[in-house]
Symmetry: C2
Subunit: 327 residues, 2 copies
């Protein structure tokens, strides 16, 4: 086990000045491509895509827009082992129709859109939460990995990116994940990170961790300082523009201030995907696939016609995981 520790430390210390998006390239897994990232995605074989179960989706229907057009936002919930306590609560809240008739209450530019019961802080008016919601401890903001064998650790680090907020960062099953340092018992921590479109759980001051009744989505530069300070439960995979283009709130922290003429956007319903009729099926480009390695390399090294100088690296949040409707 001690040898594993040394090997990992050496690998981390040897991490080059620029991120390792091209590690897969260097090892011969994929060839540099002059294609744009979108072209690589369009040409990727069907086998490189992974389906998303309808039961892992949360479907939010906002009130129609000023022209009467429907506004649907589709959220993919995180898979185990991350944030499962809050996600269990979200299942209960959706089953109880808790969010029906609630609203978007906060839109802060370059930060978040937040929704839930606008009267949550007023005991007389607050909606009743369903019975049996779990209280989740702060320790659940991250997950402890016991890699078991050295190859697993080396593979993770080989495919990781240099990161300003963690020892390194990488994609796992299509999600952006931060890694901590390995501890003396051979374990290390990992956790989902706050990229654009990620969905988290609003909370009060510590030790409160939020129930899941109040949710937010990132609509600006990745606020990575929130990592491990608040629970992430998913990401928007379709319709984020219905949230990111909402008017910004004029109150403190971008909360809507009705006295200043702000108007909340109503939420008609939020349902789990398996309760929604005629919902399309979605799939994501597997982050373990050869196509994803080529795509990530092309995001870090743009070689398509518009670019005169490839960056030679990328921030993990500048490599959004491709998601599409199954044709």
């Amino acid at each position: 086990m001690h040898k594993t520790l040394i090997a990992l430390s050496a690998l981390l210390a040897a991490s080059p000045a620029l991120p390792q998006a091209s590690a897969a390239i260097a090892s011969g897994k994929a060839q540099p491509s002059p294609l744009a990232p979108s072209e690589i995605v369009a040409q990727s074989p069907k086998a490189d895509w992974a389906g998303i179960a309808a039961s892992d989706l949360l479907v939010m229907d906002l009130a129609p827009d000023a022209k009467g057009k429907p506004r649907r936002v589709v959220i993919q919930l995180m898979p185990a082992p991350f944030s499962q306590g809050w996600i269990g609560n979200i299942h209960k809240l959706a089953a109880a129709r808790f969010w029906d008739g609630t609203a978007v209450n906060r839109v802060q530019d370059n930060y978040v859109v937040q929704w839930g019961d606008p009267n949550a802080d007023d005991k007389a008016k607050a909606k009743k939460l369903p019975e049996g919601l779990a209280v989740i401890p702060e320790s659940e903001y991250e997950h402890i990995v016991f890699p078991g064998n050295r190859d697993v650790v080396i593979t993770k680090v080989e495919n990781s990116f240099k990161d300003n907020y963690s020892e390194s960062a990488a994609f796992e099953s299509g999600w952006p994940i931060g890694y901590g340092t390995i501890t003396s018992d051979g374990a290390f921590h990992n956790w989902p990170v706050h990229c654009y479109g990620m969905v988290g759980v609003g909370r009060d001051l510590s030790p409160n961790t939020g129930s899941g009744a109040e949710l937010y989505v990132v609509i600006g530069h990745a606020p990575r300082h929130l990592d491990r300070n608040i629970a992430l439960v998913g990401r928007v995979i379709e319709g984020i523009e219905h949230l990111s283009s909402l008017p910004r709130g004029h109150g403190a922290l971008g909360f809507y201030d009705l006295a200043q003429g702000d108007e909340r956007t109503g939420i008609v319903s939020i349902r789990l995907g398996n309760e929604v009729k005629d919902l399309p099926t979605y799939e994501y480009l597997s982050s373990e696939s050869r196509s994803f390695a080529k795509y990530a390399d092309a995001r870090a090294n743009r070689r398509d016609a518009f670019f005169i100088r490839p960056a030679g690296g990328a921030d993990i949040c500048n490599i959004p995981v491709p998601v599409r409707r199954v044709k």
Copy 2:
């Protein structure tokens, strides 16, 4: 000179795993603060703020919104030595009233809002550009620094951040700047970087670099792969919400597609600040001030009540430079 090179390389190699936002703290220039970044800014002495000349502002008035409310966007143009050729063109375009009656033509979610003549590509309909616009070479995407003495270089690097898109990054005169490696003649390159709110110059394929007639602003996660591939000329300091909350376009790359029901937002006028009556005076928190060092440290290490775990680092684009109206 050779000794300087070694010293710089050593400093760069010794850069710790997490960014050096707290370099000023470690050297005793500022003490760690439990205040929120916004509180540090609010309490900073007047002497730590630097005024912005009205002639360095570009004021864009959009058509009023659906409720008849005015929509003004204020842009600060970059100071020398960066992008001055394009900025000279922008002065000429504003003086010629070129943008009056043009429109916002593109809004791509998590990327950019772009404006200019919607008929620019149609020779029969395109607005005539003013005479005498300069053609700027691609070499102007970056600037070459001859530091002259070792102390200047060391100070720059000491206050720099680890960065995924450059050797290191730092603030200079209130702007986020990337640095390249030092060359054998003791020079190094620096260039402005694409953070949220930065304004750049649309262009055609290389070697075209754009005239400045078509401008865009970043409204999503920092698209740093554009650094040194396209000219940056400024940043929005007020009113970005009038652009970031516009409806997203349904055409390719988020361009508005009128056939799909998209509607452009009209531009009433764009003027230099010194031509605008009753414009407020603006100032920015000097990036060379003690208050800024404390603010940047607090952005990288949140110690205010909401946070349970300071990040220990920050992306340069997650440290927006505070700008305010002079009281």
